[in-house]
Amino acid sequence: MLDLLNTALIGPLRDMGGSPAFLVEVIIGGLAAGLMYSLVALGFVLIYKASGVFNFAQGVMVLFAALTLVGLMERGAPLALALLATALVMGALAFAIERVVLRPLVNQEQIILFMATIGLNFFLEGLGELAWGSNVKRLDVGIPDTSFMVWGVQINRLELTAAITAAVMVAVIAVFFQRTRIGRALRAVADDHEAALSIGIPLNTIWIVVWAAAGLVSIVAGIMWGAKSGVQFSLSLIALKALPVLILGGFTSVPGAIVGGLIIGVGEKIGEVYWGPLVGGAIENWFAYVLALAFLLVRPQGLFGEKIIERV
């Protein structure tokens, strides 16, 4: 018994304490990975808040954005121009989704809208492959994937840039939501569709805005992920990791998406590095889901979600 305690708890903790610089590196690595989950989750939250649609296609939107960007750059477009064009494509996509998918299905059950986004998922995957091909592409945004040392801790330039970009974007989104007229309208729509309509908020416009915003978030997530591990179709699978992030953070909370992503990123990295050897590794693959499961049992509304009160 004492033996078990020693290997399962004290051992890993002693390892952490033994090399604090390494621990910090592990945490930073976890934060960087978590940030990616956060960004995908953020796209989910934006859409879910404003339209109540659970967008299964969020992961593919990340892939699609990255594919479009890389595809344009392969054809000789400079980075800035390719970025602009990709942003326009994502905007057009938002417009098309509102017209073709959301508008005809307005007032339908949530499950029907959810099914529609599964369809959208496959459509975008096919369209991406058709337009840009299915081979793995290298995305070079001009930031070297190298490290520098601060107080004995290795920091990766690419990860640092990604973190700063994500932080700026989250700040911009937060200010936009809190301060502007459209932000206020978005919060109103998220809260009550009927009431929002009655005070003159055009739902359709708001939907285009949030899907476009989710598209822009996808571009940033796609660039980061793509620059790290190449643009490939497995990219859309990271969307699955966004689900536990959402359960952890709450489906309707922007800060929840960020914090949830970071917790899962750090948690799975620490688990993998320090406890992985004990169970033969691969903790990274299931840690997020087990944590989400625990949350579902204890706090189903997530860390920041509104408390679910059911009137009976």
Partner: protein, 260 residues
């Protein structure tokens, strides 16, 4: 009873069907500028459907709706709101997560103009505009006597106050026509008296035309200039409170005489 040459709102032979259910059948009515009109009728008479048709939430299967003399039959809710029609809901539709002040500010959304960038930075004209709207909203808050709950989250308030905040949000849009769906449902006597006072005050001070659905007959008789009674989707009476109270069809509808 209609003030002016064209009434503010004209409902002309409007029918609404949901599948096999005939919610409204050939209803015609007019509401003149400055009037307070009560719409009464037993449960399921089609009162809320009528309100929903006027505010663009439903579209009539037949008939026309004119607002200020122009055909508005097929407008959507937000277009109707932009024309100057505000409403409240039977089951209070507030933005529960937002503060009372923010809720009322959303009522001003249609009145706001300007650049998002400036708004985000809280700077220049955007800041002045925000302050101007804030001032107007504060006046409404004063008027409805809800200063003390200004910062409270709307969802946490007692029901009577929520109804008052909903009225405040509707007033913030400076509507020409205010539609109230059971503004006094679930209130105690004191709250009802307050609400009556506010409705009369709105009509008096801002000259707002008001159409309200209400079940409490003493309230209806007290505050309305005119009463319209519906039963089974048809209009069965339209006149002064005293006329409608004495109307045999209305009495039958409420006492449940078998329909021939």
């Amino acid at each position: 009873m209609n003030a002016g040459p064209t009434p503010l709102l004209e409902v002309d032979e409007v029918s609404v069907r949901f599948g096999a259910v005939q919610a409204l059948e050939g209803v015609s009515l007019e509401i003149g500028r400055g009037e307070i009109v009560a719409i009464i009728g037993p449960n399921g008479a089609g009162k809320t459907t009528l309100l929903n048709v006027v505010s663009g939430f439903y579209h009539p299967s037949e008939g026309h709706i004119r607002f200020e003399g122009r055909d508005r039959t097929h407008l959507r809710p937000y277009d109707v709101a932009a024309l100057g029609v505000a409403r409240t809901f039977q089951n209070v539709a507030l933005f529960k997560g937002m503060s009372v002040l923010d809720n009322i500010m959303t009522g001003r959304l249609l009145k706001m103009r300007g650049s998002f960038l400036l708004e985000a930075l809280h700077w220049g004209p955007a800041r002045r505009q925000e302050l101007l709207h804030r001032e107007f909203v504060e006046r409404i808050i004063d008027f409805l006597e809800i200063e003390s709950i200004r910062k409270a989250p709307a969802g946490k308030l007692p029901y009577g106050l929520q109804k008052r905040v909903e009225l405040a949000r509707a007033l913030a849009a400076e509507p020409k026509l205010l539609l109230l769906d059971e503004p006094m449902a679930g209130m105690n006597v004191e709250e009802k008296e307050d609400m009556c006072r506010f409705i009369l005050g709105v009509n008096d001070e801002f000259g707002t035309t008001i159409a309200l659905i209400e079940h409490d007959m003493s309230v209806v008789m007290d505050i309305s200039h005119r009463v319209i009674a519906l039963d089974y989707g048809r209009k069965i009476a339209d006149g002064t409170p005293d006329e409608v109270r004495a109307d045999q069809a209305v009495i039958d509808a409420y006492l449940g005489v078998a329909h021939a």
